[in-house]
Symmetry: C2
Subunit: 171 residues, 2 copies
Amino acid sequence: MVRILGIDPGSHKTGWGIIDAEGTRFRYVASGTITAKGKELAKRLVLIADDLDLIIGQHQPNVGAIESVFHAKNSQSALKLGHARGVALLSMSRAGLEIGEYSPTQIKQALTGAGRAQKEQVAQMVQLLLGHGGPFGLDESDGLAIAMCHGRFSGSPARKFLAAKMLEKAP
Amino acid sequence: MVRILGIDPGSHKTGWGIIDAEGTRFRYVASGTITAKGKELAKRLVLIADDLDLIIGQHQPNVGAIESVFHAKNSQSALKLGHARGVALLSMSRAGLEIGEYSPTQIKQALTGAGRAQKEQVAQMVQLLLGHGGPFGLDESDGLAIAMCHGRFSGSPARKFLAAKMLEKAP
């Protein structure tokens, strides 16, 4: 069994989800959204880091997972996202977690079988695959989806092979 | 007297400089470059954060200063810079430092009187104003320049007024 922490970072809202993965089965552990209020970015980053440290300490995940980012609307939004993402990577890495990075297409593919699935479809599959009705906030659901993507792609060699095949076929 | 830590963050090289500012006089305290090696960004961020925490603990600055970023070459470089900048802001804010942010034009203006000064000119003024021959690495020198910019702009109301006037005239 492996306990996975998935994080969907943002400088205002950071979604997170923790699942236990055993073979092909997932079990819901915990999830939430860190809402960082206030004008000052530096103080919001402290809130995010402190909360993530607390969550990691409380639930003791074995590995971390986060979305890889290749595109952003513009350099300003990339910069802001980078701040929150850097802090999330720091919290995970300082806790000794190996970190898996997955593209949005990989995450959608892992959960729905289609790399271009709608956000709502992914959210629905999160609930279905975890057998947990939520309701989850959007960022929270994304955090869980990223954790589940890691669970699906980081398993046995056979599953890794299948996952790679799935990705080849992904649009 | 105020002890100022200036940081020029980067995901590979992070320059830092600490000065004591008293009235219009600056005294060199310490400076350096944190070189974060390795392929994995998350581990490089831990190196940067750990070193900054150590430096802050050792030299006990009262305030922090960092360059504000409005433009980046592209969203990929903005994202990378954002990771390192987020970690630098986190270290300073966690240590309770108030943080001043200054544009590249403000920093050049504060040190040379010209907002469009060349990098070499800024580096020369850092040495001259600190009465310290260095030699400083480029990022290290930028860290010191940012600290000195804060010293110049955050002083008495009269100096603040003068600084504002200087900026009005800046190109």
